[in-house]
Amino acid sequence: MTRADWTLLILTLVLLPTLYVGLWGDRGAGESVEIWIPGQKPQVLSLDRNQTVEVQGSLGTSVIEIRDHKARFIASPCTGKVCIHAGWQQHAGELAACLPNKVAIEILGRDRRYDSINF
């Protein structure tokens, strides 16, 4: 076995586990949040950066907070505030919506947590 052989073998054995971690790792984790706004294409924002976003809905401005790889509504011009009470959305497939304002947020990731949800 030449030096090149050993280098290749060691490199391979070091990199192979990263393949497992990358592809077998947490697949339900949220990677980005998709924000639906009436009259526009949905905006997709990464969950990596903490930020606060204000979006214009039919009734007024909804404020969405992104922090620690989660997203939630913190302010909305609706009366019921169902969207805010939905709380933090974290895993892929989780969704919170303000129907009066026509604004919704959904977490996107590799594997959805649920195939479908019926209310």
Binding site: M1, T2, R3, A4, D5, L8, L9, T12, L13, L16, L19, Y20, L23, W24, R110, D111
Partner: protein, 180 residues
């Protein structure tokens, strides 16, 4: 009418390819635990040819092995054939710069490992891109690559043993290799 005269290189490639095809077809009779996971013993011939006779001869042997093997097994132009061909193409593509490294370069084990990984990666790319673009395929990739690493090393050791036993006693009867 033009006549084609077979050169000694033709005979060399034909004999080696026949050897590779035989092993390939025999191995196709063995069951495999997972689709796409095979020991790939015919690659022992490919790598041994690469080390002894150079890349061009090895590429011919690989090409003929895939073609003749698929014709004999009955998978010619099937998806299996395209997967096999893409794997062989990927491994030969990677072996070309590898065989031209300055200095001592790779030994048979290194070539075999490199070729096996390239083969699996190329095959997976075609399988995932053209045949089954489902995210679950990505779940298979680590297992497939692990198998290619294991079999790549094992085949490389077989090549080394083979070449060593060829070098020792019958050196004066070895056929003269064509100029690379």
């Amino acid at each position: 009418m033009k006549t084609i005269t077979a050169t000694s290189e033709d005979y060399l490639v034909a004999w080696l390819a026949a050897l590779a095809v035989t092993i390939h077809v025999a191995e196709a009779a063995l069951p495999s635990p997972l689709p796409g996971v095979k020991p790939g013993l015919a690659n022992v011939i490919t790598i041994a040819v690469l080390v002894r006779f150079g890349w061009r001869t090895a590429a011919w042997v690989a090409l003929l092995r895939v073609l003749a093997g698929s014709l004999l097994i009955g998978t010619f132009l099937s998806p299996t054939f395209f997967l096999s061909a893409s794997g062989a193409a990927a491994s030969m593509l990677v072996l070309w710069p590898a065989s031209r490294l300055p200095g001592r370069g790779f030994g048979p084990v290194g070539y075999s490992l490199l070729a096996a990984m390239a083969h699996m990666a190329g095959q997976f790319a075609v399988a995932y891109g053209a045949f089954i673009p489902h995210p679950a395929m990505l779940h298979l990739l680590p297992v497939l690559m692990t198998a290619s690493v294991v079999f790549g090393v094992v085949n490389g050791i077989i090549v080394r043993t083979l070449l060593n036993s060829l070098r020792a006693p019958a050196a004066e009867h070895a056929p003269s290799p064509p100029a690379p």
